[in-house]
C-alpha cells in the first residue's frame, strides 16, 4: 500500500510522519506538494501537523484552498483513506470533510504533553488493532484543539459512532480534568460517516518507536496497513 504525505507551506510534522511510515513501518511513502493537483496512485493520504500558512487567521483556513485540495476532496469522497493529524485535522474541518470547527484551547496557551485517549470505536480502518475502550497514550501539541460542534451534530456523531478518541484519565474515565483544551465531549478525534476520513489532534507519529516513550501510534498506522491488506486479500 502506498502513502502520500501532503506538504503545505508551514507543515512541520511531514518529515515525522514520513519517517514513521517509511523507516518504522517499512511502507512505501511519498511527499505530495501542496501545489500539485493529482493524487492518483496513493492508497492513503496523510495531512500532517504543523502551522500551514502560519495558522494565521484560523488554523487550516488558508491551506484548505491549496491547489492539491480538490484532488484530496475527490479522493476522500470516493472512499480513499485520509488521515488528518493536528493541523491536518484542522484543514479537514475547514474543508468540510469532517463536521465542526476548532477554537483556541480554553487555557489560551499552547499545550505539549502526553495524553491518554479512550478508543471509542475500533471498527475503523485506523483503529482495528486497538480494543474498544482501550486507553492509549499519544502526545498532543497544539494551541487550537478545542473542538466544537453544535448539539445536534454532536448527537449525530455519537449515534453514528463517529467519535473515535476521547481524552481520558489513565483509567479510561472521561473527565473535565483529563481534557487538555476544552473540546466538546473531550473529543480528540472523529471520523466521517463513511468511515474513511479520520481527524485527530494527538500525534501518532510521535509514539511509533519505544525510544520515544511509546508505540501506540505505531499500532494506529499498522491498523491502516492491516485493514488495507485484508481488503486486498478479500479483493475489496
Amino acid at each position: 500500500m502506498k502513502f502520500g504525505v501532503i506538504v503545505f507551506p508551514g507543515s512541520n510534522c511531514d518529515q515525522d510522519v514520513y519517517h514513521a511510515l517509511g523507516a518504522v513501518l517499512g511502507q512505501p511513502v511519498d511527499y505530495l506538494w501542496h501545489g500539485d493537483t493529482d493524487v492518483t496512485g496513493y492508497d492513503c493520504l496523510v495531512l500532517p501537523g504543523g502551522f500551514s500558512y502560519g495558522d494565521y487567521l484560523r488554523a487550516g483556513a488558508i491551506a484548505r484552498f491549496a491547489p492539491i485540495m480538490p484532488a484530496v476532496i475527490d479522493f476522500a469522497r470516493s472512499g480513499g483513506l485520509v488521515l488528518g493529524i493536528c493541523n491536518g485535522f484542522q484543514i479537514l474541518l475547514e474543508a468540510g470533510l469532517l463536521p465542526g470547527a476548532m477554537r483556541r484551547n480554553d487555557c489560551l496557551q499552547f499545550r505539549c504533553q502526553w495524553t491518554c485517549l479512550r478508543v471509542e470505536n475500533n471498527a475503523t480502518p485506523f483503529t482495528n488493532r486497538f480494543r474498544k475502550g482501550q486507553v492509549v497514550r499519544i502526545p498532543i501539541a497544539h494551541g487550537e484543539g478545542n473542538y466544537y460542534v453544535d448539539a445536534a451534530t454532536l448527537a449525530e456523531l455519537e449515534a453514528n459512532r463517529q467519535i473515535i478518541f476521547r481524552y481520558c484519565t489513565q483509567d479510561g474515565e472521561v473527565t473535565p480534568a483529563a481534557n487538555p483544551n476544552g473540546s466538546v465531549g473531550n473529543i480528540a478525534g472523529i471520523i466521517n460517516r463513511k468511515g474513511n476520513i479520520l481527524g485527530m489532534m494527538p500525534h501518532p507519529e510521535r509514539c511509533a518507536e519505544s525510544l520515544l516513550g511509546g508505540t501506540d501510534g505505531r499500532e494506529l498506522f499498522a491498523s491502516i496497513v492491516d485493514w488495507w491488506q485484508r481488503g486486498e486479500r478479500l479483493g475489496a
Binding site: 487567521l57 484552498f65 475547514e94 463536521p99 465542526g100 483556541r104 484551547n105 489560551l108
Partner: protein, 89 residues
C-alpha cells in the same frame, strides 16, 4: 480603490475563552462594571475596484469562503473609500 472593514465575531452561543480571560483580567484590574467581553477579528481589505456593488459581492464571498468559519463565526462589513483618497471615511 475601496476599503472593506470586516468584523468577524463568534456566534452568540459559542463560548469565547479569550473574552472570558479578558473579562477576568479587567475585573482583576478593578473594572468591576464589566459584565461581558467578546473578542473577535477586525480586518481591513483594500481592493483595487471602484464599483461598490462588485466589491460588495467579492467581500461577501471572501468572508463566506475564507475570512469567517460559518460553523462558529459570523461576519459583517462596511465598504468605504480609503481615507486620503478623497473619500468620506
Amino acid at each position: 480603490m475601496l476599503l472593506a472593514k470586516i468584523y468577524v465575531t463568534l456566534k452568540p452561543g459559542v463560548l469565547d475563552p479569550q473574552g472570558e480571560a479578558v473579562m477576568g483580567g479587567l475585573k482583576a484590574m478593578g473594572y468591576e462594571g464589566v459584565t461581558a467581553v467578546r473578542v473577535g477579528k477586525y480586518l481591513e481589505v483594500q481592493l483595487d475596484l471602484d464599483d461598490p456593488e462588485k466589491a460588495g459581492q467579492q467581500v461577501e464571498e471572501m468572508c463566506r469562503r475564507l475570512l469567517a468559519n460559518p460553523v462558529i463565526e459570523q461576519y459583517r462589513y462596511t465598504l468605504e473609500e480609503p481615507a486620503g483618497a478623497g473619500g468620506k471615511a
